[in-house]
Amino acid sequence: MAVKTYKLGQVVVAGATVLNCTNAALTIAQEVSDRTAIGDSWRFLGTLGKSWALSITCKYDPVGTTLTALRTEFITGDCETGSIKMYEGTTTYFSGSAAMITGYNLTKSVGADDEVTMTFEGNSVLEYTA
């Protein structure tokens, strides 16, 4: 059984590890077209492009190098990142060569660590390295 609980989840953006991640969610989607003929009882689909998106939540370190770079890129840059890797084991990972930062949400709460959630939309082919 290879089901993993909480342990491994390193996220690397442009070669730099995003530290203190508490959550990482990769979404891979397939766009489809509907080619069901009028009057058919069942739906038939055709394939269009695939897409991927990554959402990560991490403890907010205002002076952390990687977080600072991403914040600067999102606020003052063109929101484009280099490669993104999302590890699902010690050596196995999903990766794409480019992505766009599409969201940057900072949360502060009484009695809790400050957290930042960032979302990325893939701007490249997604690959899996086993």
């Binding site: 491994l8 989840g9 530290l19 203190n20 991640c21 508490t22 403890k59």
Partner: protein, 146 residues
């Protein structure tokens, strides 16, 4: 700021020993009536229960475990003329201040929070004895132990 229980207690002892007017600090608690009067005011810190849990995903960060360590500081004052209340209240404040502001301690932990005070409620003649509890949060690498 990776830390562990041992390093934290060394800093707690150091912070308490630096409080103005303290005559004795030890992790080996004594009964107040068996303690030499010259050792009052005395403080007895002890590392108590601890809750541990993963705080971030493993792999991307060195410090991926969180320890919530309860430290209990037992304070004892003595006054032959029953002026223990003034001494007790003054010392309570100094203990809390020392625990939350001493840089030797705060620099190796994530946070320290005073959580509870339990007193003898005036039951002891000439003495006052009380506990002050603190919750110390620190992070450490899972492979190192805390």
């Amino acid at each position: 700021m990776a830390s562990n229980r041992s390093d934290i207690m060394i800093q707690v002892l150091s912070a308490l020993a630096a409080i103005d007017g303290i005559n004795y600090v030890s992790e080996s608690i004594s009964h107040w009536e068996e303690l030499d009067h010259g050792k009052f005011p005395a403080l007895f810190p002890i590392d108590a229960d601890e809750i541990k849990s993963p705080v971030v995903l493993f792999g991307g960060t060195d410090e991926d475990m969180r320890g919530l360590l309860t430290v209990i500081v037992t304070g004892m004052v003595y006054d032959a003329e029953n002026a223990t209340q003034v001494k007790r209240l003054d010392l309570m404040q100094k203990i809390e201040k020392a625990m939350v502001t001493t840089s030797g301690l705060t620099s190796i932990i994530h946070s320290v929070m005073p959580t509870r005070v339990v007193t003898d409620k005036g039951a002891l003649e000439n003495y006052s004895v009380w506990d002050q509890e603190f919750e110390i949060e620190y992070w450490y690498p899972n492979e190192d132990g805390g």
